[in-house]
């Protein structure tokens, strides 16, 4: 009986997933002149959701949650990182059965996803690494552990200011390095770590180039597309991702040379910050860009926070490189689970200047108290600079689309109006 219900649930979830993904992709494709190189990314998400969700083949896969899990070490251990954070409403609904209604949709969706795919992934995922970031992720770890996954809690300090917390994190990551060898059964050598660092750095460099291109006026690339690019990085296929990103970069560079504008010429330049939009939940970015705005920059953990920073080490030894990797995941981190988190404010202010941002949209998942609580401070700071900010609290359900689009449209229009006024 129970089993039957579960089979039914799985079937409907898959159906809903496919529909959700198709709908999102359809709306994305409605944007004009999408770059040819974007096809790879669209296709990745199409396949990921149309059929049984496939993990990377051939190598051991390590599931990760949060940006703080050091990819380099996983690659050095001969495994592939696969970021589990999910943006699917269908999974969210599954997760909501066991998690409270007030909790974060991302956490619910991720738990739901792991629950639905338990049979499929149980043996394929060597471990699920969950950094002890926010309370909800921490608690989710316990739920996931109850399923048949091997959960690895990666202990993270609640602050990054003191040297003690930095060393604590370094020790955590060192321990993770040791444990990872057990999990994968492969030895992590300094050569492998060095190669992994260089490879990840190459990916970072690619990302940064795309990131820089959006500084130009007009921006040659839609922010939604950019989010899909970084989203695809979650999926572990680093080589494929890099080839595709490189092609995209070339294409965008050509477009920039031709002064191509992705949106309308005077589209308000928007900075998106806050909770991470993850495919298929990219309704907010789509709404922004459909309303005539263009996302030129983002400060979210599914995009810039994921790929902007890079490792630097002094000596090619494990005892220097591993702490260096640890530093890369803690020191520049602007996750609101850290306190104080002044760096996030500085980063947003810096970006607002660099990208000539006209307005900021602050996205918070209903249930994510941390982002909600930081909203006020960021807002005041932006007010000082005269940059308008729209605070949007939403979840994965499509129900608030109408209300949301009204607010976003009004915000974008008001910026347009201000811009016009300024011009005169």
């Amino acid at each position: 009986m129970e089993n039957e219900r579960e089979v039914q649930m799985k079937r409907t979830t898959r159906l809903h997933l496919a529909m959700e993904a198709e709908e999102t992709l359809r709306r994305i494709r409605e944007f004009p002149d999408s770059p040819v190189a974007m096809e790879y990314f669209y296709d990745r998400f199409h396949t990921l959701f149309s059929d049984e969700p496939i993990l990377p083949e051939g190598k051991k896969t390590i599931g990760t949650m949060c940006v703080q899990v050091p990819d380099e070490l996983i690659y050095a251990a001969g495994a592939v990182p696969f970021r589990l954070c999910s943006g699917a409403y269908a999974y969210d609904q599954v997760g909501a059965e066991s998690l409270p209604a007030k909790s974060c949709p991302l956490v619910r969706a991720t738990c739901g996803m792991l629950q639905v795919n338990e049979e499929l992934w149980g043996d394929r995922l060597s471990a699920v690494v969950i950094p002890t970031t926010c309370d909800q992720k921490k608690k989710a770890a316990e739920h996931i552990n109850d399923l048949s996954y091997r959960v690895y809690p990666l202990e993270m300090p609640p602050s990054k200011e003191s040297e003690a917390s930095r060393f604590y994190w370094q020790e955590s990551v060192k321990q993770f390095t040791l444990d990872l060898q057990q999990i994968t059964g492969r030895k992590i050598t300094k050569n492998k770590v060095q190669q992994a660092i260089v490879k990840k750095t190459a990916a970072t460099e690619l990302y940064r180039k795309l990131f820089e291109l959006r500084k130009s006026e007009p921006s040659p690339l839609f922010g939604t597309d950019m989010l899909l690019v970084t989203n695809a990085y979650f999926l572990g296929d680093l080589d494929g991702w890099m080839t595709a990103a490189e092609q995209l970069l070339q294409e965008i560079e050509e477009r920039k040379a031709q002064k191509f504008s992705a949106g309308t010429r005077n589209a308000p330049r928007i900075l998106l910050t806050g909770s991470p939009p993850i495919f298929p939940n990219i309704k907010l970015p789509i709404l922004i860009e459909q309303s005539g705005g263009i996302i030129v920059a983002d400060e979210v953990c599914s995009s810039s926070r994921l790929l902007y920073d890079s490792v630097a080490y002094d000596e090619p030894s494990l005892n220097d490189m591993v702490p260096a990797i640890a530093d890369r995941y803690l020191k520049p981190c602007t996750c609101p689970c850290l306190s104080p988190n002044d760096d996030r404010r500085r980063k947003i202010v810096g970006m607002a200047g660099d990208f000539k941002v006209d307005g900021v949209i602050y996205h918070a998942f209903s249930g994510c108290v941390l982002y909600e609580m930081e909203q006020n401070r960021i807002g005041r700071e932006l007010e000082k600079l005269g940059i308008p900010m729209l605070y949007v609290e939403t979840d994965y359900s499509p129900e608030d689309q109408g209300q949301l689009s009204t607010r976003v449209e009004a915000f974008v229009e008001s910026i347009k109006f201000r811009k016009r006024k300024k011009k005169r």
């Binding site: 660092i197 750095t201 890079s310 530093d327 760096d343």
Partner: protein, 328 residues
């Protein structure tokens, strides 16, 4: 011009520094054999006890001059002290603390020891922050002593009897430069312990003890001795007037800590201080490895008289990082 700037910013200053250090070492240790003498008030450890030197460390002469009797401060001898100090400052402000990172032979030897350690795959040590801050003050204590002790030779301070001449040049007696640098011209005479008087015996034994520490210390800890170097403290007094400067633009800093990571002396402010523009701290050796490791456009900048000479750039950073793959 822009292309030159780009090439420079894309380059690896460490490699330049490696060769520059060798050249400076050769000049300061062997230059004398080629009749080179760049000055005897140098703000770096061109040791006077080493006969082939191509210039001389200021501290020796300075300690000498500090024996000046107080009643002769306003005579020609006082002027001599002042001229010496001004010459030293003149040399110093030219390159600021880069004298430490690029020229100092003792610093170079420590860097070589670090390379040796890397070859043996021995990990390095670093101090906890609190200890670092405490140890950091030793250099000022040594600086005070190297002024006060010679003063005690020339004067009776607070009625105490004058110190004997065996107390002369107290810092030289404990400086590893005295014992180590002459070895490079095959002169082992400084390694001996001098039993001719108690003071000498204590000083030379202390000197040899510190020499021993110098080797172990520099082997396990990058630039071990620099943290205690009174010359470095002396430098810092005039550092703000330096023509060569290291500046930071805190607005572009993400506090990623790359600079702190590669810093040989372990200055945390380089990463975490986003307020100061002039980021040269008293322990800084101006090796510019931080500039090399900074991925932010124009965040860290070395400039000479306001003209930028080496700047952190995104392109340069990634170029250097990619280079690491090819073994170098």
């Amino acid at each position: 011009m822009n292309r030159l700037k780009k090439t420079v910013n894309n380059s690896r200053v460490s490699r330049f520094r490696f060769w520059f250090q060798i050249a400076a070492f050769a000049l300061l240790v062997y230059g004398g054999f080629l009749a080179i003498n760049i000055g005897d008030r140098l703000p770096t450890f061109a040791c006077v006890f080493e006969d082939g030197r191509g210039g001389s460390c200021y501290l020796m002469g300075f300690q000498h001059q500090m024996t000046i009797p107080f009643n002769r401060i306003f005579t020609g001898r006082g002027i001599g002290v002042l001229v010496g100090l001004l010459t030293f400052i003149g040399f110093f402000i030219l390159f600021n603390k880069a004298w430490c990172g690029f020229v100092c032979p003792l610093g170079t030897i420590q860097d070589w020891l670090t390379k040796l350690r890397c070859r043996f795959s021995v990990r390095y040590s670093s101090y906890p922050e609190s200890l670092f801050n405490r140890l950091s003050s030793i250099k000022y204590i040594l600086l005070a002593l190297l002024i006060l002790i010679p003063m005690g030779i020339g004067n009776s301070i607070t009625g105490l009897p004058k110190l004997g001449h065996d107390w002369g040049v107290p810092f030289c007696m404990i400086c590893p430069g005295r014992t180590v640098l002459p070895l490079f011209i095959g002169d082992f005479s400084q390694l001996a312990i001098d039993f001719s008087s108690r003071t000498k015996m204590v000083f030379t034994a202390l000197g040899m003890g510190i020499t021993g520490l110098f080797f172990t210390g520099a082997f396990v800890k990058k630039r071990f001795i620099c943290l205690f170097c009174p010359m470095s403290g002396f430098h810092y007094i005039f550092s703000k007037a330096g023509m060569l400067r290291l500046t930071k633009n805190g607005d572009t800093c993400t506090r990623c800590g790359n600079c702190y990571r590669v810093c040989d002396v372990g200055i945390r402010a380089i990463a975490d201080d986003v307020e100061s523009k002039n980021i040269v701290k008293d322990d800084c050796i101006m090796c510019f490895k931080c500039v090399e490791a900074c991925p932010e456009e124009g965040c860290l900048k070395a400039s000479f008289l306001g003209i930028p000479v080496y700047e952190s750039t995104e392109e340069g950073f990634f170029k250097r990082m990619k280079g690491l793959d090819n073994g170098k």
